[in-house]
């Protein structure tokens, strides 16, 4: 018998993420992918492994003979608070974004949206079915120019937890990326006017062009999504390996399996030297999978799939 947790420990330079198999029901075949099964899940010959690996391919040692440790009961991890969100700009993604907020919300979330669309238009679009699907998300809307200093100042940006600057398509006269960069520059001015120790929200922006994102390097941008690049990367990958669709869906949508940043000391004692393989064993007991490490507090140096020694 081979168990998922046991096989995961045998990979030296790859991370075992899940299993896949083909199931037939009523004459219809379906390829199934499951991420992060319980470590005592018994693997069978008709299954394939889903792994995070390097191009040179996986290096595997002998299966450990140790028994799979039982799962520990783990208290729920604290989730990042987002209860006040400001969305600057508008495009077709907004309905999906609100739906995702609803899925991720662990408490009431107030979302303020500002764009050039008239209020009646937004009321018509967000009313009815969408509004009734939102239980924890409350949306307020303001018709205003998001690249106007006075508007941004009146919004009291520091009072929000998160700011999202969408590639704004609410005014066809403007180029969305130019608007985003202008808005970010104005947000930078607002931030510079604050005292150093005053808190400022995280700012995430959507761009259509990688070059525009590069121009915004000196703004309070916490993170950015180049949406056409993201979609084209996904399309290419899915064309090569259609099974990835269900994996991306699971990882990127609310609920189910998620990728999170957690302190190492939750899993292993820090007083002694530990290898990544120790972390793999320890996270298994919480039915989690260690994907990589980020060194030092506040650092952004992320190493995915380090060698297990």
């Amino acid at each position: 018998m081979r168990f998922f947790g046991q096989v995961a420990q045998a990979f030296k330079n790859s991370i075992l993420l899940g299993v896949s198999w083909v199931e037939e029901k009523n004459g219809i075949e379906r390829r199934i992918a499951v991420l992060n099964p319980e470590p005592d899940y018994e693997l069978f010959d008709d299954e394939e492994l889903i792994i995070l690996t390097r191009q040179e391919g996986p290096e595997i040692s002998e299966l450990p003979q140790t028994e799979i440790e039982p799962l520990m009961e783990v208290a729920p991890h604290e989730r990042p608070v987002f209860n006040r969100v400001l969305i600057l700009g508008w495009n077709a993604s907004i309905v999906d974004i609100l739906g995702e907020f609803e899925g991720h919300a662990v408490q009431d979330v107030i979302v303020t949206i500002v764009s050039s669309h008239p209020e009646e238009y937004v009321e018509r679009l967000l009313g009815g079915n969408i509004a009734s699907d939102l239980n924890q998300v409350r949306v307020t809307y303001q018709n205003a120019d998001t690249a106007n200093r006075a508007v941004l100042k009146n919004l009291e940006i520091p009072s929000y937890v998160d700011v999202i600057v969408l590639a704004d398509e609410s005014n066809p006269a403007y180029d969305p990326d130019s608007r985003t960069s202008l808005t970010l520059l104005m947000i930078r001015e607002l931030k510079e006017a604050l005292n150093e120790n005053e808190e400022f929200p995280s700012v995430t922006a959507e761009f259509y062009d990688q070059d525009t994102r590069a121009l915004c390097i000196d703004t309070p941008l916490t993170d950015a999504v180049i949406s056409p690049e993201f979609v084209s990367m996904q399309l290419t990958q899915l064309a090569r390996q259609p099974i990835l669709a269900s994996i991306y869906k699971e990882l990127l949508s609310a609920g189910g399996i998620e990728i999170a940043l957690r302190p190492v000391h939750l899993y292993v004692p820090l007083e002694q030297e530990i290898a990544f393989s120790d972390l793999i064993v320890a996270t298994q007991q919480a039915n989690e999978i260690a994907l990589g490490i980020m060194m030092g507090e506040g650092s952004k140096e992320l190493t995915l799939n380090p060698h297990n020694d």
Partner: protein, 121 residues
């Protein structure tokens, strides 16, 4: 063959649990939300139900309460499954009428014991 209805909205959780239980010899039926689960309980009359509590459309607590209020299916044992082993979660599930309670991720051996205990009673 013992028929178990799994009511679970997460596709991967559903696929994994149904595969593990099928391998143990159970006949598995699937419902993806509480409302569908309620219909299937009446139409297919499973021997036991594994009910996730955080379901869309009709949540697991509501679906359990409704099932236990319906004399035609009230005797079908329901094991509530929730993401955390918190006492208040357990009490909430039992308060809704569930016959037993277990947590996700699933400890298969423990769940199998609970399934057999509930089928026997």
């Amino acid at each position: 063959m013992t028929k178990i209805l799994i009511v679970e909205d997460n596709e991967m959780n559903r696929d994994m649990l149904s595969r593990r239980l099928s391998r143990k010899g159970y006949d598995i039926e699937i419902a993806v939300d509480g409302a569908e689960g309620s219909v299937m309980k009446r139409n297919n009359t499973p021997d036991l139900v594994l009910m996730d509590m955080g379901l869309p459309v009709m949540n697991g607590w509501e679906a359990t309460t409704q099932a236990k209020a319906d004399p035609s299916i009230a005797s079908i044992p329901i094991i509530a499954l929730t993401a955390h082993a918190m006492e208040e979660e357990k009490q909430k599930a039992l308060g809704a009428g569930a016959d037993d309670f277990d947590t996700k991720p699933v400890n298969l051996q423990r769940l199998l014991e609970k399934i057999e205990q509930n089928l026997a009673s």
